[in-house]
């Protein structure tokens, strides 16, 4: 996931729009008992996105998304529709879920690079 966030942050198609969206998010990967908080870079010196694998962060998430690592893997490969996953309870969204709607199209350009990364380095996660 660190590499995925790095891709999202550095990709010219996703990084700047996500920074501009300024929507702090909290992801909980239920099967791994892991939490990551992600926010926009705070000034021009920082990368577009900053994240910490902890709830001990100095900012309040706007959107809290909870899902299994398998669902996250499907989502970043472009094979999990956010609205359908919410209806089928594979993703739980709490907070300013309207903000999640803004984020969805912004993350789509990264799917192809994520799939490439999976194919190159984590083939067991290919779908």
């Amino acid at each position: 996931m660190n590499r995925t966030f790095e891709i999202m942050s550095e990709d010219p198609e996703t990084g700047p729009p996500l920074r501009a969206a300024d929507t702090p998010q909290r992801f909980e990967f239920t099967d791994l008992d892991l939490v990551v908080n992600i926010r926009s870079g705070s000034d021009e010196e920082e990368p577009n996105l900053a994240w910490e694998w902890s709830d001990e962060v100095a900012w309040e998430p706007k959107v809290r998304l909870s899902m299994s690592s398998e669902t996250a893997n499907r989502y970043f490969q472009g094979k999990e529709n956010m609205a359908i996953a919410i209806a089928r309870r594979r993703i739980k969204a709490v907070g300013d879920v309207k903000a999640a709607l803004t984020i969805i199209p912004l993350t789509k350009p990264v799917f192809a690079r994520y799939r490439q990364m999976i194919a190159d380095d984590y083939p067991h996660l290919e779908l």
């Binding site: 529709n81 956010m82 609205a83 359908i84 919410i86 209806a87 089928r88 309870r89 309207k98 709607l101």
Partner: protein, 390 residues
């Protein structure tokens, strides 16, 4: 072009054309009837048909309101030099079919055919030769004509709203405005075709993929015996209380809400579904997978927090596909059911419940006689699946 030819092209007498030149309503005329001057004279003819006096036209010309008309010089009008029988000889298409095609394309304003018309008809003949049935070609022609007309209309309106009007408000001189608009259009015009071509190819690839998937998944179903009928999931979504919102918050705010709503629908839809049309705040969506479209509707409602909340209805059945749209009884049922729902709800019919299985929860809430239908229709409220039903 001679004065006589120019007068024929504009559709007025030579005397009228002379008078217009004398009264300075054709400033593009500099002693020669160029395409630009003829384009301007055509504009004057149209204004006169609509009842505007020459004095009004003169004032509008002076203050730059007609400056956009100069752009017409970029689209030099061709002479209709070919007859129907010439076109039949050149393309092998029946004269009656040529007339029908030209009408469908919205190009039937002159008695003859231009070189461009002939070129277009050659393309159509080649498509038919390649094996596309005539009925499909006629439908495709109608869809092309409607879609391209909408694109051209939007291009003109947006340049008018965002370029021409600001120029007028800035007090620019009429000639300066005309130059600016002609220059901008010259820059934009060559970009439009490649952009449309690229977008068309990408969307074509997407829909071919969806069609292949749809074919594979429906091969075990009973085929419809009528060409053009297909079994689809149909959803209608609109905003509850939109009329009141327009009254209370104003048209611009309401329009903004609708734009955000339709964009949110488009970006969240499953891959096999697409927006067929929007009418005001109402969106019609068609997909091949009823379970996915219903789950989308339920999930989409969970992503809504602000009023006005959407109302969504989903139905599943055979619809008639014509001219890029879907018609028939089943479409009407979906449209009627959405009128029964409240903001935040997803209402569905029995075929959806049967096709969706246990991944969502359905509560039978009514059996109603929908307006215009004789028999009763069962209506169910759809909710997220699983243990929680909050």
């Amino acid at each position: 072009m001679t004065l006589e030819q120019a007068a024929a092209a504009v559709g007025v007498s030579t005397g009228t054309l002379r008078r217009w030149v004398r009264q300075d309503v054709v400033p593009q005329f500099d002693g020669a009837w160029t395409p630009a001057a003829i384009g301007q004279a055509r504009l004057v003819a149209r204004m006169r048909e609509r009842g505007h006096s020459l004095a009004d036209i003169q004032r509008a010309t002076e203050d730059g309101r007609l400056a956009f008309g100069h752009v017409a010089e970029l689209f030099a009008a061709e002479d209709p030099v070919h007859s129907l029988s010439d076109a039949t000889d050149a393309t092998g298409l029946d004269p009656a079919l040529i007339e029908r095609l030209m009408t469908t394309l919205g190009l039937r304003s002159t008695p003859g055919l231009t070189d461009d018309d002939l070129e277009l008809l050659r393309y159509i003949a080649a498509v038919l030769d390649a094996g596309l049935p005539l009925d499909a070609m006629l439908q495709l022609t109608r869809v092309y004509a409607q879609a391209i007309a909408q694109i051209a209309d939007a291009e003109v309106r947006l340049v008018h709203l965002y370029v021409h009007e600001p120029l007028m408000r800035s007090g620019s001189a009429a000639a300066e405005m005309a130059d600016e608009l002609v220059e901008l259009t010259s820059d934009l015009l060559p970009l439009a075709s490649p952009m449309l071509d690229q977008l068309h190819r990408r969307l074509l690839a997407h829909f071919i993929e969806q069609d292949v998937v749809g074919h594979m998944e429906s091969e075990l179903e009973l085929a419809s015996d009528e060409v053009g009928r297909m079994r689809v999931a149909i959803a209608f979504a609109d905003l509850a209380g939109y009329t009141r919102l327009t009254e209370e918050a104003g048209e611009l705010h309401a329009l903004d809400v609708v734009e955000r709503f339709t964009e949110a629908v488009s970006v969240t839809l499953p891959d096999d579904a697409r927006v067929i049309k929007t009418i005001g705040d109402e969106v019609m969506i068609v997909g091949s997978d009823p379970a996915a479209l219903t789950a989308w509707a339920v999930g989409f409602q969970r992503l809504q927090t602000e009023r006005p909340l959407p109302r969504i209805a989903v139905h599943y059945g055979y619809a008639l596909y014509r001219d890029g749209d879907y018609y028939g009884r089943e479409v009407n049922i979906a449209a009627r059911v959405v009128a029964r729902s409240a903001g935040g709800e997803v209402l569905v019919t029995r075929p959806i419940v049967e096709a969706t299985g246990s991944e969502l929860q359905f509560e039978r809430i009514a059996e109603v006689r929908l307006k215009g239908f004789k028999g009763p229709t069962e209506i169910f409220l759809a909710r997220p699946g699983g243990a929680e039903s909050d």
